[in-house]
Amino acid sequence: MISEISFLLFQTVLAVTFLACAAYIVFFITRKKEVRTIARWILIVSGILQTAYLISRYMLTGYAPVTSLHEAVAFFAWASTWAYLSFRWRYTVKNFGTFVSLLIFILLVISASVSRKTAPMDAALKSLWLPVHAGVSLISYGFLALAFCGGLMYLLQERELKSKRFGYFFSRLPSLEALDQLNSHCLTVGFLFLTFGIVTGIMWAHQAWGTYWQWDPKESWSLITWFIYLIQVHQRITVGWRGKRAAVMAIIGFSAVLFTLWGVTFLLGGVHIYAR
C-alpha cells in the first residue's frame, strides 16, 4: 500500500515540478508577473510533495531515505527546492527561479531514471549518523547548487555587459551585484553545511568502521571539493574575490560536487557505494 502511494507521489512530484519549470520559463519569456506568482505557488506545492515523498520512503524502509542513488538525488532535489524557497523568502533575484526550477527538474528526472528499489541495509551502518551525515551533506549540495545557478547567470550577464551587444538575456537577468551577493550568501551557507557534513562523516566512520579516515575515493573527493570551496570563501574574505572569478569558482566547485556524488560511485568504487 505505502509503496504504491510512494510511487504515485513521485510521479506527481515529477509532473508538478515540470509544470513549475514550464511556468517559470513562460515568465522568463513573457515577463508577466502573474505567471511568476503561479510558478512560485506550483514550486511550493512541489516542495511539499517532495517532502511527503521522502517521508513515504522513510516509512517504506525504516531508515532515512538517502541510501540508494534514487533517494540521494531525490533528497538533493528536495534540498535545492527548499534552499531556494527559504532564500526567496529573504531576497528576490530576478528570474533566478527559472534557472533553479530547471535544475531541480533535471535532478528529479535523473532520480526517476535510476532504480527505485529499496534494499536492506548493512547492519553496521544503521546509526543516527546516517541521516545526519547524508542529510547535512545533501543540504549543503542544495545551497551549492543555487550558487552554481547564480554563477551561470552571472557569466551570462557579464558577457552581455562586457561585449556591449545586448541580446536576449540582458533585460531578463538581474544586476551583477545581486548575483554576486547571491553567490556570497549561498556559498557561505553551503560551505558551513559541507564542513558539518564531513565532520559528521568522520564521526560515523569511526563508529561504523573504527577508523576516522580511510582515504576512500569518495572521502578524498569530498575533501577536494571542500578545499575548492575553502579557497573561495577564504579569498572572498581576505582579498575580495568576487564577480566573474567567484562565478567561475562556483561552477567548478559544483562540478566537483557532482563528481563526488556520482562520478566516484561509478568510476572509482569504494565503501561509499549506494545500495542497489
Binding site: 544586476s175 574575490w241 568576487r242
Partner: protein, 425 residues
C-alpha cells in the same frame, strides 16, 4: 436630432513649431480657457489638455459649418495669420478623434515614445474639467477608457521599459552593474554639460555623492556645489578611484588621461568592487583596454549611442504592438458609442418591453382555458396597448430636443432606468 460628433482639435510638437506653440500655451491654468470654450455654440461636453508638447481640446458638439472656424479662433485668437492656422492645427472627428486620444494617452504620440508622464497630465486635465462640470457621460466614459487603454499598453508591451537618451542609457547600465545606486559615488572628470546631465540623472536615481575633478578648480567647485559634492584637482584622479564607483569623463584633453596600468593596482585596494567608466569625450579620455580588466566596465560615447539606438528600435517594435491594442480599444468604444445613440436605445427599449409582454402572455393564456381566436387577440392587443401607453412618455421625453438637456444624458438615464445593457459589456 442635429448630428452630434466627437471632435478633437489640437496642436503638437509635430504639427506646429515651438514659436507658435509658445503663443497659445495656456500659462495660467485651465479655468479661464474652459470658460471660453463654453461660449462656443453647440459645445455639449469638453475637456482641455495642455502640456509643453501639445494643446488639445476634445469636445462633443453639434456639427455645423462655422464650428471649425470657432475652434481655430479659440486656439489662435488672431495671433497667427488666418491662412497659416489650418496648417498648424489638426482636427479629427469621431473614430479618428477617439483613436488620437488613445494614442496620446498611451504615449505613442509623445516626443519620446513611451515616456510615462502623459497619463498623469491627462488625468490632471480631466480633474479640472470635471471639477467645472464640463464633461458629461460621453467624455467621462471616453477619458476613463483612455486611462485604461494606457494601462493596458503599459502592461502588455515593453514600451516604457527602455531608455532612449545617453544619460538614461548610462543609468540603465549602472543599474545592471550595481543593482541599487543608493550610496554609490560618482566622479565627474571634466565639467562638460553632457557629464553634468548624466550626473543629474544618476543623482535622480539615488546616487549618494558626486565628486568633480577639473583642470580649472574654480569650475569644479561651481559644479560640485550644485550637487553638494566635493571638488578635487585632476592630479588626484587615481587616488579618487579608490572610493568612487562610477566615473564620467568628458575633458577636452587630446590624449588618454587614464591608462590601464594606473587602474589595475587600484582594483586591489578597492577589493575588486566593480567600477563603471563612462567616457563621453571625443577624442577619448580613457584607455579602451580598461574594459578587459575584471570588474571594470567601460563604455564610450559610441557604445552608449548603440544602447540608445537598440532601445529605440526595441520601442518601435513595441509601438506596433501598442498600436494594435489602441485600434482594438477604439473599435470597442465605438461599438458602445453607437449603442448609446438614440435610435438603438428606443429599439432596445421596445424590444425589451415586447419580450416581457410575450413571456407574460405565454404564462397567462394557457391558464385561461379554451379561448376563441378573437378573445386571444383581444388580450394580446390589450397587453401591447398597456405597454405602448407606459412607454409613450419616456419616449416623448427622449425624442424632445430641449436645449437644456443634452441627449446623451437622457439616453444614459433611460438606459439606466430600464436596465438596458451596454453592448460591449
Amino acid at each position: 436630432m442635429p448630428a452630434e460628433r466627437i471632435v478633437l482639435v489640437g496642436v503638437n510638437h509635430k504639427s506646429t513649431p515651438l514659436a507658435v506653440r509658445e503663443k497659445i500655451a495656456l500659462a495660467d491654468g485651465y479655468q479661464e480657457p474652459l470658460k471660453r470654450i463654453s461660449k462656443i455654440p453647440g459645445c455639449r461636453e469638453y475637456y482641455l489638455l495642455s502640456t509643453c508638447n501639445r494643446v488639445e481640446l476634445l469636445l462633443v458638439a453639434e456639427s455645423y459649418d462655422r464650428l471649425e472656424d470657432e475652434l481655430i479662433d479659440f486656439f489662435f485668437g488672431g495671433m497667427v495669420p488666418a491662412e497659416k492656422c489650418r496648417d498648424y492645427i489638426y482636427i479629427y472627428y469621431d473614430e479618428k478623434a477617439v483613436q488620437h486620444l488613445f494614442m496620446v494617452a498611451s504615449s505613442l504620440d509623445s516626443m519620446i515614445i513611451g515616456e510615462p508622464q502623459i497619463v498623469g497630465q491627462l488625468k490632471e486635465a480631466y480633474r479640472y474639467a470635471s471639477a467645472q462640470h464640463t464633461t458629461g457621460p460621453l467624455l467621462n466614459r471616453l477619458l476613463h477608457k483612455s486611462f485604461s487603454v494606457a494601462k493596458r499598453v503599459r502592461n502588455e508591451t515593453g514600451i516604457g521599459s527602455s531608455a532612449v537618451s545617453i544619460s538614461y542609457a548610462a543609468v540603465q547600465l549602472a543599474k545592471k552593474i550595481f543593482g541599487s545606486l543608493q550610496d554609490k559615488k560618482v566622479l565627474l572628470v571634466g565639467a562638460g554639460e553632457m557629464a553634468e546631465l548624466a550626473a543629474e540623472h544618476l543623482v535622480g536615481q539615488g546616487v549618494g555623492e558626486v565628486v568633480v575633478a577639473n583642470r580649472t578648480l574654480a569650475r569644479a567647485v561651481d559644479l560640485a556645489q550644485k550637487f553638494n559634492g566635493l571638488a578635487v584637482s585632476l592630479e588626484e584622479l587615481v587616488q579618487q578611484l579608490e572610493r568612487v564607483d562610477i566615473l564620467i569623463s568628458s575633458t577636452g584633453a587630446s590624449d588618454i588621461i587614464l591608462q590601464k596600468d594606473q587602474v589595475k593596482p587600484v582594483m586591489r585596494t578597492r577589493r575588486n568592487k566593480p567600477l563603471f567608466f563612462i567616457d563621453i569625450a571625443v577624442p577619448r579620455d580613457l584607455d579602451p583596454s580598461l574594459n578587459d580588466l575584471e570588474n571594470i566596465f567601460l563604455y564610450d560615447i559610441d557604445d552608449l549611442t548603440n544602447v540608445v539606438e537598440l532601445n529605440k528600435s526595441e520601442r518601435e517594435k513595441e509601438a506596433v504592438k501598442a498600436g494594435r491594442i489602441v485600434d482594438e480599444e477604439v473599435l470597442k468604444f465605438l461599438r458602445w458609442y453607437r449603442g448609446m445613440a438614440m435610435t438603438p436605445t428606443i429599439a432596445a427599449l421596445r424590444k425589451k418591453v415586447d419580450a416581457i409582454c410575450r413571456v407574460e402572455l405565454e404564462k397567462t393564456l394557457p391558464r385561461l382555458g379554451n379561448l376563441s381566436e378573437k378573445e386571444r387577440q383581444t388580450i394580446e392587443k390589450m397587453t401591447t396597448a398597456i405597454a405602448s401607453k407606459v412607454l409613450y412618455d419616456p419616449l416623448q421625453f427622449i425624442k424632445q430636443n430641449s436645449c437644456k438637456q443634452n441627449s446623451n444624458v437622457k439616453t444614459d438615464m433611460l438606459r439606466t432606468i430600464f436596465g438596458l445593457k451596454d453592448e460591449d459589456e
